[in-house]
């Protein structure tokens, strides 16, 4: 019985492989490279503008840059443009901070029909939730390790 299941399973997997669209690997890498690089250059552009016009400490400059990038990512997601960029660029659109904004706004808009508490506010964190949980937890871990390190040394 088990072997029969495995046979069917293998057959099915082969079928999926033959039907699933084959992504041209080199092309997808190139697309991820230039779109990702371009988004980072956009961030650098805003950073230089802020550096030249406002005298802010570097941390604050970086903070405002990510705020602008998150604004752009959210806005383009709202317009439906970012999903098209995502189809084209794959990893090039997921990894930049605009992709994080996309992962917040996209489900929020999608589940608006389920209401403003269980829909928008709760679904916003489908992907951002894990990021915040693991980010905060790991930063506390790093903080504690360094705290003990400074106590000992």
């Amino acid at each position: 019985m088990k072997t029969k299941n495995q046979y069917i399973n293998n057959n099915y997997l082969n079928y999926v492989k033959s039907v699933a669209p084959k992504t041209n690997e080199v092309r997808s890498l190139l697309r991820a490279f230039w779109v990702g690089g371009f988004i980072c250059c956009l961030g650098q552009f805003f950073r230089i503008i802020i550096e030249n016009n406002f005298e802010l400490p570097p941390d604050m400059t970086a903070g405002y840059v990510s705020m602008i990038m998150i604004f752009l990512g959210s806005f383009l997601t709202g317009l439906g443009v970012y999903d098209r960029i995502g189809k084209y660029a794959g990893g090039g659109s997921i990894v930049p901070i605009t992709g994080f904004a996309n992962s917040v706004v996209s489900p929020a808009i999608e589940f608006k029909t389920e209401g403003y508490i269980y829909g928008v506010a709760s679904k916003m964190f489908t992907i951002a939730g894990p990021i915040i949980v693991y980010g905060v937890a790991s930063s506390v871990l790093v903080g504690l390790i360094y705290y003990i390190y400074y106590l000992v040394v």
Partner: protein
Amino acid sequence: MNLFLTFLKTFAVGGLICVIAQLLINYTKITSARILVSFLLAGVFLQAIGVYQYVVDFAGSGATVPIIGFGYLLAKGAMEGAKEGLFGAITGGITSAGIGITSAIIFGYVFALIFKSKSKKN
């Protein structure tokens, strides 16, 4: 010329980080949420061992705009907070990442109010 070089470095490093993600997408069945979380943790780890600061100094936004930069920011805040004491060690990470989280929530909520779902039509 100097400006061109700055953008070239940003483009190359930012692009390379995205290529790593694309390689993971192409050769494994990893979901985008997992890519985001593992890149974030990679950023926290690389900053905790003191490596990522060099990448940031080299590439600027090429290193800070990808989600690894978010992890870098969290770890950096925690490490700076740890110098001031236990309270700083615990709150430092989310303090420095606060602007990112806050703007994602605010813009996310506002744009969810304004826009309607378009994914069905595409």
